[in-house]
């Protein structure tokens, strides 16, 4: 069984981003970039499926500029077998990414597609569900447990207020949440090995997918700064402020 894992390059979760002075976007110049944390969990899950003898091959795919190859190498250092880079310098909306991934899936015919539930830059939480719609596959989002049995997947999902378990025939799309697993660290030998694993680059134009503009970002602004607060000297003063000034208790 083949597992396909679409991944994204994002600003590292520990870096605070700032909005550009001209309010056109956030400034990502010279910021530390990383594999999106949720994508990392998806890669880890796919690699575990391979180690358990359930998956035969783990293929990672990313859409973006040449730099995304760095994250594809990271995914291969974690254990993915090969990578596909769909090259574009354009900033695409999730629907366009899903359309490109559909073209990849038509060729790869993966039985399971594992996504991170969302990227921590755009926070869209859409691409997995959209690919599921475009390919008419069943889906399970926000997975905290994935079990495969023959041509069936049983997935436990984190829903508001608890857990829900669904089962569905393969091929299916699963998007993963934090609790699914704890990704490993890539070892140095595996990082070296990843450099020799196959990485195929495909130009967007060669996928024969027609994309269109869906939205315009008019501006990007910083959130309203919180007003500086005060230090209280005692628990009594805190309770008094909360009761009489903030009126929240």
């Amino acid at each position: 069984m083949k597992v396909l894992v679409p991944v994204k390059r994002v600003v590292d979760a520990n870096v605070k981003v700032r909005v550009k002075a001209d309010n056109t976007n956030v400034d990502t110049t010279n910021l530390k970039m990383a594999l999106n944390p949720f994508c990392e969990i998806a890669v880890e899950e796919a690699v575990r499926l391979k180690e358990a003898g359930i998956a035969a091959e783990v293929v990672v795919v990313s859409v973006g500029a040449k730099a995304v190859q760095e994250q594809l190498r990271t995914a291969m250092a974690l254990g993915a077998d090969r990578a596909i880079h769909i090259e574009t310098d354009e900033d695409l909306v999730p629907l366009s990414i899903a359309k490109l991934l559909k073209a990849v899936q038509e060729k790869e015919q993966a039985q399971l597609i594992l996504f991170g539930k969302q990227s921590i830059d755009g926070d869209n939480n859409q691409t997995g569900q959209m690919l599921a719609a475009l390919t008419d596959m069943p889906q399970a989002t926000f997975a905290s447990e994935v079990k495969l049995d023959g041509d069936k997947a049983t997935v436990t999902r984190e829903i508001d207020g608890g857990l829900q378990t669904l089962s569905m025939p393969l091929p299916a799309i699963v998007t993963v949440d934090l609790r699914l697993n704890e990704p490993r660290y890539a070892s140095l030998p595996n990082i070296m090995k990843a450099k020799r694993k196959p990485l195929e680059t495909i130009a967007v134009a060669d996928l024969g997918v027609s994309l269109k503009a869906h939205q315009t970002v008019l501006k990007v602004t910083p959130p309203v700064d919180r007003k500086a607060g005060i230090l209280v000297s005692s628990v009594e003063e805190l309770v008094e402020k909360l009761k009489n000034e903030a009126k929240v208790i």
Binding site: P37, Q126, V239
Partner: protein
């Protein structure tokens, strides 16, 4: 043209999120219809009919929709979409699951987690976990969007919309197996008016008991920072932060939390923030409305005694 709101419900009751999404729909302007897709969901339908600003409630009551699966509910919404220019749902686990499928089937983009409506095609949404706000204009003929319910007030229950039964029953290949909702007397993190959160400073999982006592006294939910989760003090589902839950309660009490960017991203939209930490240099004090530099093991029981 009209606006369709996908109702958030559990077949028995309508969630407050729907009333809040109806407010967002009213801000866009137009005829607001609510779709209740479920099974034996009459009570949720009645509640939806009473929402102010709603003129029609579409009822898709079928065993196929019992678990409100994205696979077939999205197809149902698409069947109805011809009559609507906007399709809205709350940015809950159901809305986030279903709406992107709707958007993709309609060949339009989705705008996620809208926090402000500027016009019928222009919306504000947080990106980078709220560290920036994007003003986005949709170029699509239909606008499909999820709404962050904490950013809107709930519509009043003074309406009396007509209910219209639909006979569309669409099957899914996905089977519902089981559901285990956390049985807790405490409110959910996402809906809580007050949240008491603990960080690495709590020292251990057992020590969270003092936060739980305070939470119970305040009718609050209990949260945690990633540091507390990573240290194994509490399970992952309590995590507030960029990679956990993003919350905006009326009162957020951060106890023994230093205030890593990761955590601040998940709670800085709270109306009032209290920080209790023994380190006066902790970054959490920069976002706190009320800061108390104190040993949490003394301050929290004292606070518990006074509220």
């Amino acid at each position: 043209m009209a606006i369709l709101v996908l109702a958030e419900h559990d077949n028995v009751s309508l969630k407050t999120d729907t009333a809040k999404v109806v407010s967002a729909a009213t801000a866009i302007g137009g005829d607001v219809h609510v779709l209740v897709a479920g099974h034996d969901c009459a009570a949720a339908v009645t509640a939806a009919q009473s929402l102010a600003g709603v003129s029609k409630v579409l009822v898709a009551d079928s065993a196929e929709y019992s678990a409100q699966l994205a696979e077939n509910v999205s197809k149902l919404v698409v069947e109805l979409a011809a009559d609507y220019e906007h399709v809205l749902a709350a940015a809950t686990s159901v809305g986030k699951d279903t709406l992107p499928r709707v958007a993709a089937l309609l060949d339009v983009s989705q705008i996620s987690e809208v926090i402000e409506v500027l016009s019928s095609d222009t919306f504000v949404r947080p990106i980078y976990a709220g560290n920036a706000l994007a003003t986005v204009q949709s170029l699509d003929a239909k606008k499909v969007m999820t709404v962050r319910s904490s950013a809107f007030d709930a519509a009043a229950s003074t309406g009396s919309a007509e209910a219209v039964n639909l006979t569309l029953s669409i099957a899914a290949r996905t089977d519902f197996v089981s559901q285990a909702l956390t049985e807790s007397a405490r409110p959910e993190l996402g809906n809580a008016g007050i949240i008491v959160s603990g960080g690495r400073g709590m020292g251990s999982g057992e020590n969270f008991a003092i936060l739980e006592q305070l939470a119970d006294k305040l009718g609050a939910a209990v949260g945690a920072s990633r540091a507390a989760v990573d240290a194994g003090f509490v399970p992952n589902d309590l995590q507030v932060g960029q990679t956990g839950k993003i919350v905006a309660p009326d009162l957020y009490i951060a106890v023994g939390i230093s205030g890593a960017i990761q955590h601040l991203a998940g709670m800085k939209d709270s109306k009032v923030i209290v920080a209790i930490n023994k380190d006066p240099e902790a970054p959490i004090f920069q976002v706190a409305d009320y800061g108390l530099v104190a040993d949490l093991f003394e301050a929290v029981p004292a606070l518990n005694g006074l509220v």
